[in-house]
């Protein structure tokens, strides 16, 4: 990799990367598995709990790894998961 | 073109199909979807020319099923809509007539009856579809059907059909026959401001409170249309007052189906029209409709000349069936004569309403209706 790219971004202090906030509507989940299978960062995995429909909804492995691609939000047939930007702390 | 030419106010010499088309225009119909079929083709042809003159829409769909579906679509978009067909097309339209009943879409369907069954005799008259008018689609439902007997009535009853369909949010049928549709007679088209028109009730609540199938006292719900911001849902499935499907509840099913039928039956007295000719002292009454009623009129006049106290009960409304009118004259008459151009359809309703009074049925199939002399002979024989 060229030398210049391995340096950290020069405005690293000023620009805060957007963090994701994953919302799971657990009782809407029917356990199809699409979100877990197709997440590019493998942020979701099957949980052990059983929801109101008798299936295992996903659980978040590491929310900080989520890149807000929102693939899970669009591919979920049941509107049971969506991702928003985490509101930044300390002022808007 | 003068305004009179646009509205065609005045007296004309027209054929029944054209009079029917002009009646639709005068009633405010601005959407026609149809398919050519003898003997109703002239309605489509005339409207294809006249509709654009008035800013209305004529579209020729790929078949009668599509025509009926498009009519319901246009009705739900706020236009008064109509289609016209004959026996074979009428059969095709039945499923969607059921959809119009279930979604309470105001619309008019003209069936110019011809010889049946199947392809039958396209250029010959018949009255073989009158039971189908009531029972053609599956399920329990009620519609309104009118039977014109003259070219003037082809105009007048089309206007009335639109008014009834708008008032009761029900498909209204005009059961004409090939003779009334193709014969030429004098028609007077009144100035439009003299023609009484009825428009569907509109909701008077905001969208959040609107329930598309919540009826008023008259059992008819006010109707919002697409694009007015109401975001409503309508479906052919059994539905609740919100319009949402409820396919498991027997309570919802009975409430809906009973209301759709009561909507017509409980308002029957306001809907039904008959014409009574020389009934006051009649002891033989001919009960007839459509073109046959013209022959019957002539027949009873001949009978009167011979001193027979004959009268005519002409049914203008076929459905809901005028059972009260029939029951009333059945009490005074010694016999009822029912001439029909079929093997016995409306006569069954007459028999049901007439109870003990003998009913004589005269069947005629083929190119000519009963002659006045045939009716006179039947009157004589019945005494």
């Amino acid at each position: 990799m060229p030398e210049r790219i391995r340096h950290a971004p020069l405005d690293k202090e000023k620009v805060k990367p957007v963090l994701a906030e994953i919302h799971l509507l657990r009782d809407e989940c029917k356990g199809c598995g699409y979100c877990m299978e197709f997440c590019p960062k493998k942020v979701l995995e099957e949980s052990d709990e059983i929801n109101a429909r008798g299936v295992h909804p996903p659980r978040i492995v590491d929310e900080s790894k989520c890149i807000l691609c929102s693939f899970c939000s669009v591919v979920c047939p049941d509107f049971a998961i969506f991702v928003v930007e985490k509101p930044s702390k300390g002022g808007s | 073109m003068s305004k009179a030419k646009l509205t065609l106010t005045g007296a004309h010499f027209l054929n029944g199909d054209v009079a029917c088309a002009e009646g639709a225009i005068a009633a405010g119909c601005r959407f026609f979807a149809g398919y050519p079929i003898t003997p109703a083709t002239e309605i489509a042809e005339h409207l294809s020319q006249r509709m654009p003159e008035l800013g209305g829409i004529y579209v020729q769909m790929e078949d009668e099923i599509a025509s009926m579906a498009a009519v319901i679509g246009a009705s739900y978009s706020g236009l008064k809509a109509m289609t016209a067909t004959s026996g074979p097309g009428f059969s095709l339209m039945q499923e969607n007539i059921g959809l119009a009943v279930m979604t309470e879409a105001p619309c008019v369907i003209v069936d110019v009856m011809r010889g049946g069954p199947s392809t039958g005799q396209p250029t010959m008259p018949g009255q073989q579809d009158v039971m189908q008018a009531k029972w053609g689609s599956h399920g329990d439902y009620e519609i309104i059907a009118l039977a014109p007997s003259s070219v003037q009535e082809m105009f007048d009853l089309t206007v009335e059909a639109f008014n009834l369909s708008e008032a009761y949010r029900v498909p209204t049928l005009l059961m004409a026959d090939e003779i009334v549709a193709h014969m030429w007679e004098r028609v007077v088209i009144p100035p439009w401001n003299k023609i009484k028109l009825v428009n569907r009730k509109k909701p008077n609540v905001p969208p959040e409170k609107y329930m598309p199938f919540m009826p008023d006292e008259d059992l008819v719900p006010p109707m919002a249309c697409f694009g007015e911001g109401y975001h409503f849902h309508a479906t052919g499935l059994t539905h609740n007052e919100h319009g949402y499907p409820q396919t498991s509840s027997s309570e919802v099913q009975s409430r809906l189906v009973n209301r759709l039928c009561d909507k017509i039956l409980k308002n029957a007295d306001k809907i039904i029209r008959v014409e009574e000719v020389m009934l006051d002292d009649a002891d033989v009454v001919v009960v007839a409709y459509g073109i046959v009623a013209r022959a019957a009129l002539s027949g009873i006049r001949k009978a009167r000349e011979k001193g027979i106290k004959a009268g005519l009960l002409r049914l203008v409304t076929l459905w809901p069936f005028p059972e009260k009118s029939v029951a009333k004259i059945a009490k005074q008459a010694k016999a009822l004569i029912v001439p029909e151009m079929n093997r016995g359809q409306l006569v069954r309703e007459v028999e049901r309403a007439a109870k003990e009074t003998p009913v004589v049925f005269l069947s005629k199939l083929g190119e000519e209706p009963h002659t006045p002399v045939e009716i006179l002979d039947a009157i004589r024989r019945s005494r």
Binding site: F38, P77 | I57, G98, H231, Y244
Partner: protein, 281 residues
């Protein structure tokens, strides 16, 4: 991770009708999701939207979308929609229906609506069978598939819907699968902005019925098939875009401009109407 927030697109759905009746992994849910995403990205005026559907599992979509909607008789959605569009060309009409409803019983209405180029947008959820009634064969069922009415293997050649739509005169034809959620959303957006008859086919998993009978027992297995076999072949010959077990050609196949029926109709009507009124004193 927070629980209390409602789904941001719940305003596009009728709350009283949700949750929907579709099976776990059903592609219809994905189609509905992409559809409301497209509505949101375009900020479409919901007062001018009319969703018309036919009979079938996908037919329930009209009931779930929070806009004027109508659920017609089997196969007649396009004929009904034609009446609506001609009566009020300002309305945006989307027909969301299935492969059987649009192409078996509704086939005639499809080819004529496409031929006329009426500005109706058609979103077809193609799950390769008749799902609602229990999984019978349909006009898009692949050869040798097992269905409840082809227990020995289907011997009817299926339609190539892309070819059919293109040949009938559609001005926009695209095919995606339920896996291609992004590009499907883009196609729906493109369709909603375009004039004329548009058709987007979405191959959707029917895991409980079609999948179960045909060795793809979960939605994930069908999605794996889509992933393995899809190949983007935009603007190639629609007649060569048949679906086979090894090859699902996806992409946009037709994107052209053609005068729409409602535009021609209303222009003619205006001209004739003006001329007729001109003489009025």
């Amino acid at each position: 991770m927070v629980q209390e927030m409602a789904h941001p697109f719940s305003k596009y759905l009728r709350a009283e009708m949700m949750p929907h009746i579709w099976c776990p992994g059903c592609g219809n849910g994905v189609v509905l999701n992409c559809f409301v995403h497209a509505l949101d990205e375009l900020q479409l005026d919901l007062d001018k939207l009319v969703v018309v559907s036919g009979i079938g599992c996908i037919g329930r979509t009209a009931g779930y979308t929070n806009a004027d909607s109508f659920h017609t008789t089997h196969g007649r959605a396009l004929a009904f929609a034609s009446g609506v569009k001609l009566a009020n060309p300002e309305l945006e009409i989307v027909v969301i229906s299935g492969d059987g409803d649009l192409f078996a019983i509704g086939g005639n209405h499809f080819i004529h609506a496409a031929r006329r180029n009426i500005g109706i947008k058609v979103l077809c959820a193609n799950n390769l069978n008749y799902g609602m009634t229990g999984g019978q064969q349909g006009p898009t069922t692949p050869l040798e598939s097992i269905t409840t009415t082809s227990p020995y293997g289907n011997i009817e050649h299926p339609f190539n819907l892309v070819h059919l739509a293109a040949a009938s005169g559609a001005t926009y034809v695209a095919r995606w699968t339920a896996l291609h959620v992004r590009r499907l959303t883009q196609s729906i957006k493109k369709m909603l902005l375009k004039k004329g008859f548009c058709f987007v086919e979405v191959l959707t998993p029917c895991p409980e019925i079609y999948g179960r009978y045909n060795r793809m027992r979960s939605g994930l297995e069908m999605m794996e098939w889509f992933k393995r076999a899809s190949v983007v072949e935009s603007f190639t010959d629609p007649s060569k875009a048949e679906i086979s077990p090894d090859r699902i050609p996806v992409g946009e196949f037709v994107d052209l401009e053609k005068l729409s029926y409602e535009r021609m109709l209303h222009e003619k009507i205006s001209k004739i109407n003006e001329k007729a009124i001109e003489g009025v004193g």
